[in-house]
């Protein structure tokens, strides 16, 4: 019999977003991010969970709440039980497990403020 983990994941934008249960295969040593990547590939590609480096813990993008505690999804271990996954509570929520984590002065709106938005020009030819 395949051993499974059950990920209960907050979905959608908005504070009253529902949670969805995903049943994923479990092998010892896997990370929560392994489970979430399985969900995206096999069950539901619309689930958003940002990450760059996958497993090296260098990009620091995959920080979420695992059972209410702040953790990196890539280093938190998947366990063969129900695990509740939520976005960080102290950041602007974008979608599913993704929050706005870029520094304020490295966002598009900051650039628009600094450089000014250019009126679009059409090539004349």
């Amino acid at each position: 019999m395949t051993i499974t983990a059950i990920l209960i994941v907050r979905r959608g934008p908005g504070a009253d977003a529902p949670s969805i249960r995903y049943v994923v295969p479990y092998t010892p040593g896997q990370s929560v991010l392994d489970g979430l990547r399985f969900v995206r590939q096999a069950l539901d590609p619309t689930l958003s969970v940002r990450h760059s480096c996958i497993s090296a813990n260098t990009c620091k993008e995959c920080m979420i709440l695992v059972d209410g505690k702040v953790a990196y999804a890539c280093t938190a271990r998947l366990e063969p039980r129900e695990m509740v996954l939520q976005p960080l509570p102290n950041k602007v929520h974008l979608r599913d497990l993704v929050t706005e984590i870029g520094p304020p002065d490295e966002r598009l709106d900051h650039a628009l403020k600094t450089l000014g938005c250019v009126p679009p020009r059409t090539p004349t030819r």
């Binding site: 590939q41 590609p45 940002r50 760059s52 996958i54 993008e61 090539p123």
Partner: protein, 567 residues
């Protein structure tokens, strides 16, 4: 709901923020250009640089007398006859200046008690030449140092979470880029007098890789669709001793390299026997076999039924002793313990893993592509490493090419009159339009990775490459009518769609070039053509012509007498 397109303008647009992109932005700004530095993820955290735990090669002569010509000779030998000697020379000649510049910015190169910078001897080098930052911190230290310099440079505007979907052309020249803001899905057009692609490699095309999710060959597909040529696409470097088992989280899978620099270690087959000697590489506790040869040896053992249980080789440090391990790697030993790995009592399993790509965009000596005003820097550039990259050359290349491309782009922008308008590029329609596509791009990407690993990995055959090309063609069906769903905040399924579109195009160039090259050389090994063929001492180019990929050939630039052409 339709989101309004925003338009920005700049002298130089740099895409990508690994060492190459950060260096390019700094260089362009330092000669007076205004710069937009864009990344699809976090600035300075998204590419390969931050993951590099290893070493950086430069002829500093701190451990032993050295000269850049010795470094160049080793680089050309490793390249198996296919290096562009002009580009390789740039890397080796200017590398020391870049390393010392970073030292001045306090990157923290490891030093000896007498104050000299430590240099390790990596495989393929004739003497100790590779600098590093302890412990396994080389890449993060380089990225952090460059990022700190960029932040102090007011001419550079940094924009993270901005995915570039297409370049914009006017009369055949690059005049800007179109993309979308991941945070809200807004379409963004950037008008630029010159553009530097610093998007890194393509190793995400493979199942087992040391890449980040951002390394699916973004720059390669942007350049191709803009009319640039790619070159040497068949040469994908597999790092021989990528971590395989037991499962290790929170560490880069290529971390065993520095362990071998410092401690040697023993590479063993299932019978517990050292086997590198059987393939002509007597290791005797020293770590000296070039990457292509070591990959070949390990996979040959696996094929012969002498592999480790998970399909690789054993790497053992059991003879080293707990004190020596602790002295060499300090806190890393605890991180291994968290993963249930005790090197004093057990070996680990390692196997080749897609690590770097020698091919890329074809450029001239100023790092400009054949598309006017479009430059490239770092791993995305073809030529400096030929058919096989020498250890330690990747970050050196990123720093040297970044600076040179940034300066060249800034000079171009300075010499131009009015910037041509970017208008409303086709990509904006794609970015702003919702679709009911049902394809699962994340799943198709995983399928593509399996195809590439199975048929376009370190060992290739005609039959396998033909199968790969058929499978790639079939996977194009997953693209459907366009990006699925509606534009909006962090619509990752739409990002996957753009990734899949680019990855399928780039994967096809790798498979097509590999099928055409009927010989074995460096990182390209054909089981059906196992010998190196002198007549194949040439580059293959590939470009989009009328919507189709067309292969071409180009002679090798530079000093053939210096290049080791032995397969």
């Amino acid at each position: 709901m339709s989101l309004d397109t925003v338009t920005l303008a700049t002298d130089v647009l740099v895409i990508g923020t690994g060492a190459a992109g950060l260096s390019a932005a700094l260089a362009a700004a330092s000669v007076g250009a205004g710069v937009i530095l864009a990344d699809r993820s976090l600035i300075g955290r998204s590419g390969a640089t931050i993951m590099a735990q290893m070493t950086v090669a430069a002829a500093l002569g701190e451990e032993q007398p050295d000269h850049w010509e010795h470094h160049l000779a080793d680089t050309l030998t490793a390249g198996r006859g296919l290096c562009d000697a002009d580009l390789a020379r740039l890397v080796c000649e200017q590398g020391p200046d870049e390393i010392r510049r970073l030292d001045g910015w306090r990157v923290g190169w490891a030093r000896r008690p007498d104050g000299a910078i430590r240099q390790a001897q990596a495989p393929g080098h004739d003497r100790p030449r590779c600098v590093y930052v302890d412990f396994l911190s080389t890449g993060p230290a380089v990225a952090k140092t460059l990022r700190a310099q960029v932040i102090r440079q007011p001419r550079v505007t940094r924009i993270g979470d901005l995915c570039i979907a297409d370049l914009v052309l006017h009369d055949g020249a690059a005049v800007g880029a179109a993309g979308f803001s991941l945070a809200d899905g807004r379409p963004v057009v950037i008008e630029a007098s010159a553009i530097v692609l610093a998007t890194g490699g393509l190793t995400r095309l493979y199942q087992r890789n040391s890449a980040s999710a951002n390394m699916g060959g973004d720059g390669h597909s942007l350049a191709l669709r803009a009319g640039a040529e790619l070159m040497d696409m068949e040469f994908v470097q597999f790092f021989p001793i990528g971590h395989l088992a037991p499962r290790l989280v929170g560490m880069d899978p290529i971390m065993w390299d520095p362990f071998r620099y410092k401690l040697g270690g023993r590479l063993l087959n299932a019978a517990g026997r050292e086997f590198m000697g059987d393939y002509g590489h007597e290791e005797q506790g020293h770590y000296n076999a070039p990457r292509d040869r070591a990959t070949h040896a390990i996979l040959s053992e696996v094929k012969a039924g002498r592999g480790s249980p998970s399909g690789g080789a054993f790497l053992s440090f059991q003879h080293v002793g707990a004190d020596a391990l602790r002295a060499a790697f300090g806190p890393v030993i605890d991180r291994l313990a968290d993963n249930g790995i005790d090197l004093t009592t057990m070996p680990v399993e390692v196997a080749p893993i897609a690590h770097y790509h020698m091919g890329g965009i074809r450029v001239d000596a100023a790092l400009e592509t054949r598309v006017p005003n479009l430059f490239a820097a770092g791993e995305v550039v073809a030529g400096a490493n030929g058919a096989n990259r020498l250890s330690g050359n990747a970050i050196t290349e990123a720093l040297v090419f970044g600076r040179r491309a940034g300066e060249a782009a800034a000079r171009r922008a300075g010499s131009m009159g009015a910037r041509p308008p970017a208008g409303r590029p086709d990509a904006v329609a794609l970015i702003s339009t919702a679709s009911h596509s049902k394809g699962n791009a994340a799943s198709a990407i995983a399928a593509l990775q399996t195809v590439m690993t199975t048929h376009v990995g370190p060992f290739r055959t005609r039959a396998g490459l033909v199968l790969a090309l058929e499978a790639i063609d079939e996977l194009k069906g997953a693209l459907g009518d366009g990006p699925p769903g509606a534009p909006g905040p962090y619509a990752q399924a739409r990002l996957d769609w753009f990734d899949l579109r680019g990855m399928l195009l780039v994967a096809e160039t790798v498979a097509r070039a590999a099928l055409a090259r009927r010989e074995s050389r460096g990182a390209h090994q054909r089981d059906d053509h196992p010998e190196t063929d002198e007549d194949w001492t040439l580059h293959q180019t590939i470009a989009l012509t009328g919507g189709d990929l067309a292969l071409g050939r180009a002679p090798v630039v530079g000093r053939p007498a210096l290049q080791g052409a032995h397969g």
